[in-house]
Symmetry: C2
Subunit: 408 residues, 2 copies
């Protein structure tokens, strides 16, 4: 699929190892009972690195270590990730463990320690099972094939039901440039980086500061626009590594194809963000809320996030109930500038509200629409030109089941 | 029960008709299928009135009408309430209907129209069934007995599972002064007045502006500290009527017993707030979160609200899982000034965290504690002297069931 505008195409079978220079691995060590729990992405050259972290004041040990690694020279060659244990609220011991993981991986790969990042996800406050992780680092079987990428994808999951991966390619400076991403995230997801990890690889040539610039912009419109349950984790991280092996001229906003690169990064992140929202704990449906006519773009996103995060909207979508009352109530409490008399709202093709007044619509047809597995709610506030989107999921019995018994 | 400090006692069998001057009624008109859906509180003299309303920008028609009534002279003699239909987002017709309800009640009671307040709760966006409500106003059988108060209590409920009523008495200026309250609220409850109605009667002598002053203070520490699902309704109202028939000297902050009156009002509102939280849709447990050591009282409440409103904390409590990781994660994202290394947290008598580090505790005993129907979580941030409380409930399968099928 080519997007007409910029010649970006999806690589259906692409993964984090598709961009030139990257390998991956994933394995089971016993931190979790059955599924893979240790993974690695490796780049055969020092890659420009950019990262964003949770906005929670309580941050897990691996974040501290990764920040320190990147601060050194803005380059990474590997990230080691475990699931099953978040290594958060584990005090000095946890920090030592995160450094030990990093340094052991660096030694195994014959890299300077600061070229390795560390990431963890899972239960908070339990000591890391270092006796399972450490001896297994040398068994991580780095490969460039799809199986290795799939094994990595699997290794970063916790309560996720599906693997999350995407890949795009375009041509910049007459050479193919590829971006791919792999993510996890399912619960404790909230605007501003809930419990989610995303690892993005690209072979684009780009300096670390430029990569950070692009990543920040794109994250604000993608990962920061999803919510599952309003909770924000201690461990979230979006990490991007650019090998430069594509051979394009180094990307900056002055490059004629900067926008193409940013758009491709945005498509990558939006895909992963939507996959995370769709895979919200217990979710049966992806909900996209589009808000137009807000005072500005920021307020549009604020309204979209409030609607998609409302427990009452989420349960109504689960119950296939076109209950616009809950939509307008969420809009009204969003804190954005809203005129109580000018709100239009639709669920899919069914307009339910015009200027805040109910329109006649077929309840049965609208309910049928809501039984689909991807729902769009569109809102026009009619007060300005701001536009924004947010993504979430329905709230179901299974969300409760999963979270009432997470540790048992 | 007498509180040692101020001689305030609970009247176990008291209700909104216990304070001198008040009568109540409740009946079924057919707006709802079976249960009472129309109620009234009446005062035989013009009562000082004070009220607070939802902070949602979208406000239902009855709020507009009640504000107008009170603005006239600060006195009310009756409030007419229906459940089953919120009369919100019903446009001009809805506003006309609310005025028609008010005026019909005034005519029936031979009162000036502005002495009557109107309140509604239920589904948003449906036209009021005026043909059921209007002809029945004359059938409201105002009485001073407990049956009448119970019928009123019943008439204001929607998805509530329990009736909510409380009553306190003290002596001021050598005369008994009584305060009672009746409330509804179960879903769409959020700090800052979620979907809840509370009607408070007292025979204290107090001017409207002083009553408003006391009500505002007390509401900030009671009704504004509860959350069920983070949603805020279009219809919330706390309405207080003071008949003055107790015969005390008119209460102002200069009166020696002003604090006693405010404390009694606070106990009334706190009782009702906790009943609302405990009766959160699908809830099996009341959760109280107490936060000490915050930078100030406001931040303490902010942290308490964030913890008690966290879906992950709520599901953990439902699952009797002493998962302090979710508690500290919520604290970290609360926006309050927090030192990531100084947080203490306990669940009931079990201290789980000291200076943000896990303590050894009996998981079984803590889990047993969480199986009780009233849970206290205490937090000390150790950064200042601020203290605050908030109340909520667990998140259960039944919350989803109720809200996924509210209209069907």
């Amino acid at each position: 699929m080519l997007t007409a505008k910029s010649g970006i195409k999806t690589l259906e079978k692409g993964s984090v190892v598709t961009p030139d220079g990257f390998q991956a691995a994933g394995m089971h060590t016993g931190v979790k009972r059955k599924r893979n729990d240790l993974g690695m992405i490796y780049c055969d050259v020092p890659a420009s690195a950019a990262a964003l972290y949770t906005q929670n004041v309580i941050q897990a040990a691996p974040l501290k270590v990764t920040k320190k690694s990147i601060a050194e020279e803005g380059k990474l060659q590997a990230v080691i990730v475990n699931s099953g244990n978040a290594n958060a609220c584990t005090g000095k011991k946890g920090e030592e463990d995160a450094y030990t993981m990093r340094n052991a991986a660096a030694e195994e790969l014959s890299l300077p320690e600061h070229r390795v990042a560390v990431s963890s996800t899972g239960i908070i406050g339990l000591d890391m099972l270092m006796d399972r992780i450490l001896p297994n680092i040398k068994h991580l079987d780095l490969q460039m094939d799809q199986e290795a990428a799939a094994a990595f994808n699997q290794s970063i999951l916790t309560t996720d039901a599906i693997k999350k991966s995407t890949c795009y390619q375009t041509v910049i400076d007459d050479v193919p440039v590829t971006i791919a991403g792999s993510a996890k995230g399912s619960g404790m997801i909230e605007p501003n980086m809930g419990t989610m990890l995303a690892f993005i690889t690209t072979d684009a040539a780009i300096e670390p500061d430029m990569l950070q610039l692009a990543l920040k912009d794109v994250t604000d419109q993608t990962f920061n626009c999803i919510t599952v349950d309003g909770d924000t984790s201690t461990n979230d991280m979006v990490l991007t590594m650019a090998s430069g092996k594509a051979g394009n001229a180094s990307l900056t906003p002055a490059h004629k194809d900067w926008d193409v690169f940013v758009e491709m990064l945005q498509e990558t992140c939006e895909d992963l963000a939507k996959m995370i929202a769709r895979d919200g704990e217990g979710a049966t449906k992806l909900i996209e809320v589009q808000v137009a006519g807000a005072a500005d773009d920021e307020q549009a996103v604020q309204v979209a996030k409030t609607v998609v995060g409302s427990s009452l909207v989420k349960t109504a979508v689960y119950g296939a109930d076109p209950n616009w009352g809950r939509i307008i109530a969420a809009i009204g409490r969003s804190g954005a500038d809203v005129d109580a008399g000018t709100i239009d709202a639709s669920v899919g093709p069914f307009q339910l509200l015009e200027h805040s007044q109910p329109l006649p619509f077929s309840e049965t047809a609208a309910s049928d629409y809501l039984m689909q597995d991807a729902i769009t709610i569109t809102v026009d506030l009619n007060v300005g030109d701001g536009f924004g989107k947010a993504w979430g999921c329905d709230l179901t019995y299974d969300y409760v089941r999963i979270n009432a018994s997470y540790r048992t």
